[in-house]
């Protein structure tokens, strides 16, 4: 995965672990965590394929725009790689 990533702005139905407030937002990979069983399968008792999981760091300015309390504060979240696409730095 590239260093800078965008969370895909998808809205699939069902159980996903990608918060809506981060969809479409650009961040940088803080660290990669290895592969974990896909929770989108596990939630329904299906055999789960292992998916790479990354910790992605976003600035509050990127997430909330002008409403950010302090634009330089950051938020880290764990996002599965199938939810990420390469992006340019913000």
């Amino acid at each position: 995965m590239t260093h800078f990533v965008r969370v895909k702005p998808m809205m699939p139905p069902g159980h996903v672990r990608t918060p809506i407030y981060l969809r479409g937002k650009v961040g940088e990979i803080e660290r990669s965590l290895g592969e974990f069983p896909n929770p989108e399968d596990l939630a329904y008792g299906q055999p789960a394929t292992a998916k790479p999981l990354h910790r992605v760091r976003f600035t509050m300015a990127e997430i909330w725009g002008a409403d950010a309390e302090n634009p330089n504060d950051t938020l880290d979240a764990e996002i599965y790689e199938h939810w990420l696409e390469p992006a340019d730095a913000t």
């Binding site: 672990r17 909330w64 330089n72 950051t74 979240a77």
Partner: protein, 213 residues
Amino acid sequence: MPHDHHDNDHLSPSGHPYRADDDTDLSYWQTMEIAVRELLVEKGITTSAEIAGQIETMDARTPSNGAQVVARAWTDPDFHAALIQDASAATRDMGFDIGPLKLIAVENTDDIHNMIVCTLCSCYPRNLLGLPPDWYKSRAYRSRTVREPRSVLAEFGVTLPESTKVRVHDSTADMRYIVIPKRPQETDNMTQAELAALVTRDSMVGTGLAKTP
């Protein structure tokens, strides 16, 4: 006068109102839990004693476990490095039974303040710190912490300079987090046990600071 009520019929001998009995019906999910539990016992997959034992094990986990981890990290540079590298392995090596917990330790410094939240549900390092406080699971804490962490911190009595960066960690998937709070000043001569007494639950969630001696 706090006990100077006029309608004494509704008061206990201590002068306080009687609290209504908690006699509401079971919810759908409570009924489901009982049914599944009884089936598991009937089929011999588990026993009531095993279930009670697990509940006791979880109830025995308290923030003091985390406080010991933090105090050791403050005083033992090798352990500190191991904790930052792999917090699950470091806490297991210290003797804590954390089961399958995958833990990341994040450290507060003069320039960085970390704060933990789970916006999607209530993920918390239960296998080290025990059950989370009720507020941690509230919609208010979960929704506000990612949007206005400094306002939330101020309500917990923590006001940070603008120069300190706030790092919020949203536990969205498989990892759980513990904050290593900043070591208070004038604690150089304290033992690990004395230091552990300064480490509060909130300081390990990032909504508080370690106490000063």
